[in-house]
């Protein structure tokens, strides 16, 4: 239960910050992609199922507030979360390389799919321009924010795990 509440809070927190604070802190109209960080983190921390759920909810929020078609971002984030979940088995908490690599990869995949599905199909062929002005700056900014945000997510994750274990122990004693 605690996990679900913290999950929903995390998603809301990410979405609200991304649409307000980080829009004010944007460099050259580019803001970091917090929802990718949240989705990917839940994916490799808790496995496929959580990654999928978080991705789906994040995408749905984006669809409602920003998208033109409901369900597009939800589908995109759903698969990003699921793919990150596959790496749950090789995830170790002390290792920062894997999360960084996964979040970087997720952001690149997300940006490329956005470009192909939303821009290329409408005949916007200047790929170089979009890489230089949107995809690359977003990637750099997202990685930069990850370095600060990821430890916080990890910390919350550990706190929750500990409290859950404590709860389990109490139950075990009662039994």
């Amino acid at each position: 239960m605690k996990k679900i509440i913290s999950m929903i809070c995390m998603i809301l927190f990410g979405f609200v910050l991304q649409t307000t604070l980080f829009q004010k802190l944007s460099f050259g109209d580019i803001s970091p992609n917090l929802l990718i960080i949240v989705t990917a983190s839940y994916g490799f921390m808790y496995g496929e199922r959580h990654g999928m759920l978080v991705g789906f909810l994040c995408g749905l929020l984006m669809d409602v507030f920003n998208g033109s078609v409901l369900g597009f971002y939800a589908l995109l984030f759903l698969y990003i979360g699921a793919c990150n979940g596959l790496f749950h088995r090789v995830f170790y908490q002390d290792d920062l390389k894997l999360p960084l690599a996964l979040i970087t990869g997720s952001d690149i995949v997300y940006s490329l799919l956005c470009y192909i599905l939303l821009f290329l199909l409408r005949g916007r062929f200047a790929f170089g321009f979009y890489v230089k002005n949107v995809i690359f700056p977003e990637l750099v900014y997202t990685i930069f924010v990850t370095i600060f945000l990821y430890p916080i997510i990890l910390f919350i994750n550990n706190k929750l795990n500990n409290s859950e274990k404590r709860g389990d122990r109490k139950l075990a004693k009662k039994d």
């Binding site: 004010k24 984006m62 507030f65 078609v69 369900g71 939800a74 759903l78 979940g85 939303l118 949107v134």
Partner: protein
């Protein structure tokens, strides 16, 4: 405790393969549903609005407050510095100077207000504050803090600073999504005010990097249109009210078909510093009825 034991305790135990399949189906169904029907009255909009919008409002308010205080601090520093410099000058001149500047600033503000109000005074308007922007970097949409409860509906035009900002494309009880005219998927039917030649004004992410929006299909056989001409919304648009200023022509090029022209428009609205907007409480469909 090993994670394996814990996982058994979880309530739902659908294999993730099937969960993925189910969620995918939901997404595709939603896409089809929203593509073929008008979904803006869906309960989802309302629920999400009540959950997210208050937070966005709060954070935006705090942010604005902080940036105002920072600005004030900066201003205070400047004033102190200026004061020291001016002390060396004659006191009378200083007072006169400040007063003149203040008057000028006030005059400009009042002039702008008067102009804006006179231009579109025939329409009822309501002010709204921008509380959130697009979460991605690909499009320019933003959320305002008024919605169905304040009498807004989809397709209402949004203006600011004397120019067209966009129109409402989606709405909840206490929020509305505005699609800006600089957005990459936005097309507005425009008209050159001087010659009444029509054109299609298309937003473009690529051009927006240079601070302009593009236009095409300008039918100007007599070569009357010049740089700096005013472009307003045309009469034939079915979403935008006629005669709202879009911007000024900054570039004209001949199309390869030698009939139409294309080019760039400098928008009248400063989109990067937009904080408050006016929503016109009439839609084109209502007026034409």
């Amino acid at each position: 405790m090993s994670p394996l034991v814990k996982r058994k305790k979880e309530k739902f135990s659908i294999p993730s393969k099937y969960l993925l399949l189910i969620l995918t189906c939901i997404c595709i169904a939603l896409m089809a549903f929203s593509f073929f029907t008008d979904y803006s009255s869906m309960p989802l909009n309302k629920v999400v609005g009540y959950v997210v919008v208050p937070f966005q409002k709060g954070v935006t308010n705090v942010g604005t407050w902080i940036s105002n205080r920072v600005e004030e601090l900066g201003e205070l520093k400047e004033v102190l510095k200026e004061n020291q410099e001016l002390k060396e000058q004659v006191a009378e001149l200083t007072i006169q100077n400040t007063q003149l500047q203040q008057d000028k600033y006030e005059l400009n503000n009042l002039r702008e207000l008067l102009e804006l109000d006179e231009q579109y005074s025939s329409y009822d308007k309501v002010g709204a504050r921008i509380i959130a922007r697009d979460s991605g970097n690909w499009f320019h949409t933003f959320t305002i803090d008024k919605g169905l409860n304040d009498g807004l509906t989809v397709d209402m035009n949004v203006i600011a600073g004397g120019g067209l900002v966009g129109r409402i494309t989606d709405i909840g009880d206490n929020w509305a999504k505005v699609n800006a005219i600089i957005n990459d998927d936005s097309n507005v039917s425009g008209m050159v005010l001087a010659s009444s030649d029509t054109m299609i004004v298309t937003g473009s992410l690529q051009l927006m990097a240079e601070g302009v929006i593009g236009y095409e299909q300008l039918n100007d056989t007599k070569d009357k249109v010049e740089l700096g001409d005013k472009v307003v919304t045309s009469n034939i648009s079915d979403k935008y009210l006629p005669g709202i200023l879009i911007g000024y022509i900054s570039k004209i090029e001949q199309d390869s078909n030698n009939i139409t022209k294309y080019g760039e428009i400098t928008p009248a609205v400063d989109f990067s510093h937009l904080e408050e907007v006016l929503v016109i409480l009439e839609t084109k469909q209502q007026i034409s009825k």
